[in-house]
């Protein structure tokens, strides 16, 4: 079993991070499936925006921020045997998670209703993209505390930098405890102080209009009543990242930009004393494209494809597809030439890419046992069956006897 297989046994929380477009969601779902199957765990995968067909396959077609169970019989069909554990999936719903937060922390019904009606709040809860990072963590914390699952796998939201996720709780705490916040809420609190800050308000009023500013001020005033609970909460949420049973799985595809991002993330984990469980290199070309003998042969064919094609047709004149070909000898020869040349060209094209990928991977400043390779797959991961195959690579590096 790979290092990831062990990780699935030992972890209670796995956070899947990486640059956009590297296949985070697929890897997160496959990790969940592998943990349910191999470790027999009751697993929840929290995801943000799965591809539609995968979402359908997982039974996520209806938006659900509560975990819903993937049908055990579907799972059994997909992996070919009874799955010991259970696989649950949930989709992050930022809006309702914010609403829950407010429900939890608002001191009274009136405040709650005012918050819900505030235009700034509406904007934050539904559109404030940076807040998704925090909400994902908040959701994770809430589910973790409910103790309903043996393992929770979190697919982190797409953000500019994967690292934003780590800073989300502290940023959120800063956001609500900033001194600037007090500035903004001054007019509503203190007429005397208002005088001091008048120049500031004149400028701000001119640009944004008084209504907007008062909406903002109201928002922060309302939130101030929840401030203590909120900041406390953000701290606890941040706390679970450092939990001994929490691991990070960093996903990258073997290209310069995602690999740099992954490296950066790994070193950020280190400085924060957080646990890098495993690095997954997704969609790497198969190793055989780097086979020296094959590269040599492809070069040879490129150089001598005309002679080689002629010889092949002569020696293979009794082969059914040669004998049965109705074209003239010259056209048949040209056909064989083109096929041989194309085979060689295409091989060298791919081996060029595979070499570059190999270089990227070898540059990774991470121990080999911390790296799991999931090869480029010639199928879409859009159903449980194909997800099972990815899970096989993850847990056994593709050598799964049963998966």
């Amino acid at each position: 079993m790979t290092g990831l297989g062990e990780l699935l046994e030992e972890s209670k929380i796995i956070i899947v991070a990486g640059a956009g477009g590297v296949g985070k969601t697929t890897i997160a779902a496959a990790l969940g499936l592998a943990a349910a199957d191999l470790a027999g765990k009751k697993v929840l995968v929290i995801t943000v925006d799965p591809a539609r067909r995968l979402a359908d396959a997982l039974g996520l077609s209806g938006l659900s921020s509560k975990g819903s169970r993937v049908s055990p019989s579907d799972l059994e069909k997909a992996v070919g045997h009874k799955v010991e554990g259970g696989l649950y999936v949930a989709m992050l719903d930022a809006k309702s998670s914010w609403d829950e937060l407010v429900n939890r922390h608002a001191p009274d019904v009136a405040t709650r209703q005012k918050i819900f009606a505030n235009p700034i709040y509406k904007n934050i809860s539904s559109r404030f993209v940076q807040s998704h990072d925090y909400i994902a963590m908040e959701t994770l914390y809430e589910i973790y505390r409910s103790n309903q699952y043996d393992l929770i796998v979190v697919d982190t939201p797409p953000s500019r930098h994967a690292i934003d996720f780590l800073d989300a709780p502290s940023k959120m705490a800063d956001f609500f405890s900033s001194r600037l916040l007090k500035w903004l809420t001054i007019p509503a609190r203190n007429r005397l102080l208002m005088g001091m800050f008048k120049p500031f308000y004149q400028v701000a009023d001119k640009i944004l209009g008084a209504q907007f500013l008062s909406d903002v001020a109201e928002f922060f005033l309302l939130f101030e009543s929840m401030y203590a609970g909120f900041v406390e909460r953000a701290k606890s949420v941040a706390g679970i990242l450092g939990n001994a049973a929490t691991s990070f799985v960093v996903v990258a595809s073997p290209e310069p930009v995602p690999m740099t991002e992954a490296e950066y993330f790994a070193s950020a984990l280190e400085t924060r004393h957080l646990h890098l469980g495993q690095m997954v290199i997704n969609r790497a070309l198969p190793q055989y494209f780097r086979d020296p003998a094959a590269i040599l042969l492809a070069n040879k064919i490129q150089d001598r494809y005309e002679t080689l094609a002629k010889e092949f047709l002569q020696k293979g004149s009794s082969l059914a597809f040669v004998k049965g070909n109705k074209s003239s000898p010259a056209r048949l020869e040209a056909l064989a030439e083109r096929v041989l040349l194309e085979v060689a060209d295409s091989f060298l094209n791919f081996s060029g890419v595979a070499m570059e990928e190999g270089e990227e991977i070898s540059k990774l400043p991470v121990d080999d046992e911390l790296v799991t390779m999931v090869p480029h797959l010639n199928f879409d991961v859009s159903d449980l069956n194909s997800l099972g195959k990815v899970a096989g690579y993850i847990a056994w590096n593709g050598e799964a006897p049963t998966m």
Binding site: G21, R52, N123, V203, P258, L297, F321, F347, S351, D380
Partner: protein
């Protein structure tokens, strides 16, 4: 009125073109390739990186730079968007405040407010871009825009801001921004995807959202990294038949080497293309009248400049009529 896409008024004849798409599809390289084409056509071109990681600069073998436009080659400049600097510029221009540096705390507060109300942040991005268009310092501004998730809120920010800010200067300025953004003769969006499930889904969903939630014109769709066709039909038949064990033995004698791995490689390439093809077809089928360009997968990347040059050649071959 001639529509974008007709020879008389092509994509590069516009003033403002946003390039967006899912992460990892190659937005920056497509933007750089368009920039190269446009600058070579003699147009003063500015590339603005919104989520600036310096990718465009790196692709064109230049050092990453900041908010002030820096010239990279003849007719081609680059800038990195920075909302705080955009705000400073805005204050300087519109409020005519003499000592802008004293506004430090205000700028910070503004940034803070901007975080609370995303429309503010985005209006600064869009506002700066529209301002550059209005000042007419450039023939074309190409925007290496944010990925699919955020672009709609950017493009729709004038609308959003007028809902939030009901008075004030910002509100008044929204009108001329909308005039630029929503004029299909001036502004369009190009959505880039790769031929795989979720990039194509995101592209289609985005195309729909741009249509429904904004009034910005969808100029074109680009499918990047398309696997080239390996064989013609007769070649593929020949290749498949060649894999018969008897035939393989003969081939191995001829080349005096094991051919297994080479065959495996070609089969794998065929499979990859087979797997990608339906996604391209799906996009074509759902694109309606929107022009599509298919850009081939560039195998040997080497320097960024070479990739950009290859891509720009592929683009102009695909879009001879459109650019």
């Amino acid at each position: 009125m001639p529509r974008t896409g007709s020879k008389s008024h092509g994509l590069l004849d516009q003033s403002l073109v946003f390039v967006t798409g899912k992460g990892g599809v190659g937005k920056s390289s497509v933007t750089a390739a368009l920039g190269l084409l446009s600058s070579k056509a003699g147009k003063r071109t500015l590339i603005c990186e919104v989520d600036a990681k310096g990718d465009v600069a790196r692709l064109l073998d230049c050092e990453p730079s900041g908010f002030e436009p820096v010239q990279m080659r003849e007719n081609l400049w680059r800038m990195a968007m920075n909302t705080e600097e955009a705000l400073r510029e805005y204050l300087r221009i519109y409020l005519r405040l003499p000592v802008v540096t004293k506004l430090g705390p205000l700028a910070r507060t503004f940034d803070f407010v901007a975080n609370a109300a995303p429309g503010v942040h985005e209006i600064l991005v869009v506002g700066k871009l529209c301002y550059e268009v209005r000042e007419a310092k450039w023939d074309l501004i190409l925007v290496d825009a944010t990925s699919t998730g955020h672009i709609v809120s950017q493009l729709a920010s004038p609308k959003g801001i007028s809902e939030l800010v009901r008075l004030g200067m910002v509100k008044d300025q929204v009108a001329w921004m909308e005039d630029i953004l929503y004029d299909e003769m001036q502004t369009s969006v190009i959505v880039v995807a790769t031929p795989a499930e979720s990039p194509i889904n995101e592209a289609l969903e985005l195309a729909e959202r741009i249509d429904v939630e904004t009034s910005v014109h969808l100029g074109a769709l680009v499918v990047n990294k398309v696997m080239p066709e390996l064989f013609s039909r007769s070649e593929e038949e020949f290749f498949l038949a060649m894999q018969d064990p008897k035939s393989c033995k003969i081939l191995e004698k001829v080349v005096s080497s094991d051919v297994g791995i080479l065959m495996k490689g070609s089969n794998s390439a065929l499979e990859m293309r087979r797997c990608a093809a339906p996604h391209v077809e799906r996009l074509i089928a759902s694109a309606g009248g929107t022009p599509i360009a298919l850009l081939p997968l560039m195998f040997r990347v080497g320097s960024g400049m070479r990739l950009v040059r290859d891509l720009s050649e592929a683009l102009s071959a695909e879009w001879d009529e459109l650019l």
